[in-house]
Symmetry: C2
Subunit: 292 residues, 2 copies
């Protein structure tokens, strides 16, 4: 009976209202939500005006979303919840490459490319060569593995953020490892960049004295038959904000040296201008138990 609802009885009355939820998992989630949400409200004791501001913030966050902008994912990201969900779902052994967030920019399919192709369709940044190997956890190379990569350009923007400035597909490529499990491609060294700051989440970061920046990185999704795919980043060692990523996605094992190479001979071999950066990115996948 939901009558004479008081501060003390409130959560119990709402929990009781969910007792007939047919799906047990949904019932469990609604009960937990009620407990934690009410505990939060009892903790902060909002004024009526503060609660209205909360309603207004959530409304504006929903209304900022469209086909290419997901402000609630951004909110989940800057509150560390996306990485927490990632950590909860990461079942990989420590030997496998660590996972991190997908991020909001994997919004178009990466164009299939040949090994050694460049994903830089513009040619303005510092040339970069990425070489690597996809391996099983026992160290054996994985031929025919798919390596999907996407990155911001040297100014910190993804192709989808700059229609008309960058061609669609710039900074993106889908590669297949050779018989030694090897992949390689040419690109430019990505820049650190701010997450979009023109919405409610950006205003929240501003009001809380937080910067909006992510350290420079290249996104990878790698998959091979009989193995669990991994969604991850490779972070550029020494990038600004490497220790204060606005979305908390950095893991130490993902920080990679983008070595400065000044060697005309090697530049010629890779087909890039000298000097250039070189990153070696080996990706270890966990085999699925029982898979052939």
């Amino acid at each position: 009976m939901a009558i004479d609802f008081t501060e003390e009885s409130a959560a119990d009355a709402v929990i009781e209202s969910f007792h007939a939820t047919p799906d047990p998992r949904l019932r469990e989630v609604m009960i937990s939500l009620t407990q934690h949400l009410h505990a939060f409200v009892r903790d902060i004791r909002p004024s009526t005006s503060e609660w209205q501001q909360t309603i207004d913030f959530l409304t504006a966050t929903g209304q900022m979303c469209d086909d290419t902008r997901q402000e609630f994912i951004l909110l989940s990201d800057v509150l560390g919840v996306s990485m927490l969900v990632e950590a909860i779902n990461d079942r990989n052994t420590p030997a496998a490459t660590a996972a991190t967030v997908l991020g909001p920019f994997h919004v178009v399919e990466s164009p299939p490319r040949e090994l050694g192709d460049t994903i830089d369709l513009i040619g303005k940044g510092k040339p970069c060569v990425v070489t690597g190997c996809v391996l099983s956890q026992d160290g054996s190379p994985l031929p025919g593995a798919l390596v999907d990569v996407w990155q911001a350009n040297e100014e910190g923007f993804y192709d989808v953020q700059q229609p008309g400035v960058q061609p669609l597909g710039n900074g993106r490529g889908l590669f297949t490892t050779d018989e030694q499990g090897v992949f390689w491609f040419r690109t430019v060294v990505p820049s650190y960049y701010p997450i979009p700051t023109d919405g409610p989440v950006g205003r929240m970061l501003d009001r809380t004295g937080r910067h909006p920046n992510r350290p420079a990185h290249i996104h990878f999704i790698a998959g091979a038959a009989g193995h669990t795919p991994v969604t991850t980043h490779v972070f550029v060692a020494g990038s600004p904000y490497i220790e204060s990523d606005a979305v908390f996605a950095v893991k130490k094992t993902l920080i990679t040296d983008f070595a400065h190479i000044d060697d005309p001979q090697r530049a010629r071999e890779f087909g890039v201008a000298n000097p250039f950066a070189h990153a070696q990115v080996d990706i270890v996948l966990e085999s699925v138990p029982g898979a052939l």
Copy 2:
């Protein structure tokens, strides 16, 4: 340093990111939000797909909002948070009339009316007379008090929900008490009604086996010089759903007898058809300490 974020260290890393928030109240709120939100996520351990569904639900809730629809308030209402915030902010002594939620339908100004006027501009429901007195907590009547009322019609709809069917202002009136602190008006007995069910909140109620109905009520805001105004409802005793209000707003002291009167003489005196309903609604306001 927000590196190597784990399930255990996640909340602390996010809390640390808010350490430079200039406004101490905002810092307190963000820290509490982080603690409770992370505790909720650690508790339910959502799959990636479940967290995406949560993002989608919040996005759809924001996108359902417009000038006359506030789906996030509705969500706050059905999770009992609006009433919890109300309870937290209710500083009144037990002698004063209890407050309850404002609700989403006080969206236009109530038209000023004379005592005894009808707020029913249609004339189809069961006639009803509401008489009452606005009093200070010591029992003295409050002349010149403002009494703002609004209600659904006999079919459970507010004027703003039925443009073209109900004239704007139907079911609404702003009255001023006479020298004895008395007010009265004519209307129709309101019906119970469902909160809007065509959005994400309605779907959530459906999936959790909850009905969307609110017991029949009339909204009041009463205010007088030197007194704290009160926002409340008067609930129709015996209404369906009186013990399971979808938004948890019922308080026992607010349940009021809408007596069935079959008395042609009294009907004539009130200027209504016989038989009719009669509710006596006395509203007690708390005086502001130090006010004259």
